[in-house]
Symmetry: C2
Subunit: 271 residues, 2 copies
């Protein structure tokens, strides 16, 4: 890819400033899901809106995105407002709006990080090296997946003969396709790269969609820059399914087993 | 306690309606933390503001609270606004305000739950029965803790001779003190009942405070009602500490190992 061509991720999350303080964007066909855009690209776009805001303080620390309604293909506006700015942290209130109606609500915290005592308690799951794992075959009917190189170690996307399983864990190597240096926005989208855990448990596709997604950013910009285009080892599982919803907790590991992000979501399902 | 005396939790989370649509509350001395109120009581108060709103649809599904600034002892206002109402889910934008300044931002999702396929993947940690575990001694200098009966199975609050540990897990039996029937608001506060994990790892107290807290509610109102005043088995651990922040993931188990809530937070620390 020549250097002058923007990466599809950057095109999909691009925003421009309007005179009313609203940032304008457009959905990207490349990141389309069954209905509306891939939730991860929406989350990444909202983080971008914070990061490109002239008042933004420091690196992303946390982000919560609530998927209130489907986003229609086409133009949208993002209102990102610093609700409170302290000396070293800043709290954001964010809304994605289409035709005057809120489709997505979000909050974010950014801040200046300083060196402190550090420790990682969680270990990356066992996995063969990236190049020894088979790439997942293209799905065809879900466009956004083509923007990711997915290599499942366990818990691949179920096929007709997969049947029910009693463990909802998926572990996979993943990176942007074509490869793209990792940053906080791309990491945000990666946190939502797991298909609904109920598919894996039931061995079939059922109606499902993320209701709320939270990302905790553990890696600073420098650590993500050092990760470059190397694949990330991502793992996710559910804890409880019932009464129309389940949760999912995920960990994304970078070079040398560093936890780049931990992420959680609540997912609607019908089964 | 005679039936006519409200429980301290209900007094601390009480709100009244003002003519401007803002709900008014007051901090409670009984739930005071080192600086400002216990984060769990603030989260519970914000959930209450949603639940008592005349337009509220269904049960709580998720809640995210961002602690933007200390809350000063005294009066505060809560603005809880339904940003989007669908047929079976509703998305809330919430702010706690003092003297015109935002101290806390939050979002919540409520909705109507329907019976579906259900499964619990996560098991409660091993623990002796409640009545075979010693109650934690009162701390004295942190008032809100007196409102909880805490019985630590592992990871008790460190004392001077505790020393460093390599595992941040705390598991404890916990319930309101005096006992009070469990509901979503009380469960929300319980999700923040763990002291900062960095204390346990370092074997000492350091400056620390929750930046963002998320609760996923797995139990419906009926399930919480069936729990009554029985103690909850709660467990929490961190995944990565570094550059001034760590995360914490928690699970709260009720009768028969039911996962009542899963909860996550990002915590600031200095060490």
């Amino acid at each position: 890819m020549p250097e002058s061509t923007p990466h599809p991720f950057d095109l999909a999350t691009a925003l421009t400033d309007a005179s009313d303080g609203v940032q304008r964007g457009n959905t990207s066909e490349a990141y389309a899901n069954m209905v509306g855009p891939f939730g991860g690209i929406t989350a990444a776009t909202l983080l971008r809106a914070v990061q490109r805001h002239p008042d933004c303080l420091g690196d992303p620390l946390s982000l919560t995105v609530n998927y209130a309604a489907p986003i229609t293909d086409g133009a949208f506006g993002v209102r990102a407002r610093p609700a409170r700015t302290n000396r070293s942290t800043q709290h954001w209130a964010i809304e994605l709006v289409q035709d005057g109606a809120v489709t997505t609500t979000a909050t974010a915290v950014t801040g200046i990080r300083r060196d402190t005592w550090s420790s990682t308690e969680v270990a990356a799951p066992d996995a063969p090296p990236f190049d020894q794992v088979e790439p997942a075959p293209p799905l065809g009917f879900i466009k956004w997946i083509d923007n990711y190189e997915l290599r499942f170690v366990v818990g691949a996307i179920p096929e007709e003969a997969s049947g029910e399983q009693d463990d909802s864990t998926s572990t996979l190597w993943v990176r942007d396709q074509p490869a793209r240096p990792l940053d906080h926005a791309a990491l945000t989208a990666l946190c939502d790269v797991f298909y609904p855990r109920v598919f894996l448990r039931q061995g079939r596709y059922v109606p499902a969609g993320t209701v709320s997604l939270t990302v905790y950013f553990h890696a600073r910009a420098e650590e993500l820059a050092a990760q470059g285009t190397e694949p990330v080892l991502a793992t996710a599982r559910a804890q409880r399914f019932g009464a129309g919803f389940f949760d999912q907790s995920a960990q994304l590991f970078g070079r040398n087993g560093a936890v780049l992000a931990t992420s959680h979501q609540l997912v609607y399902f019908k089964a």
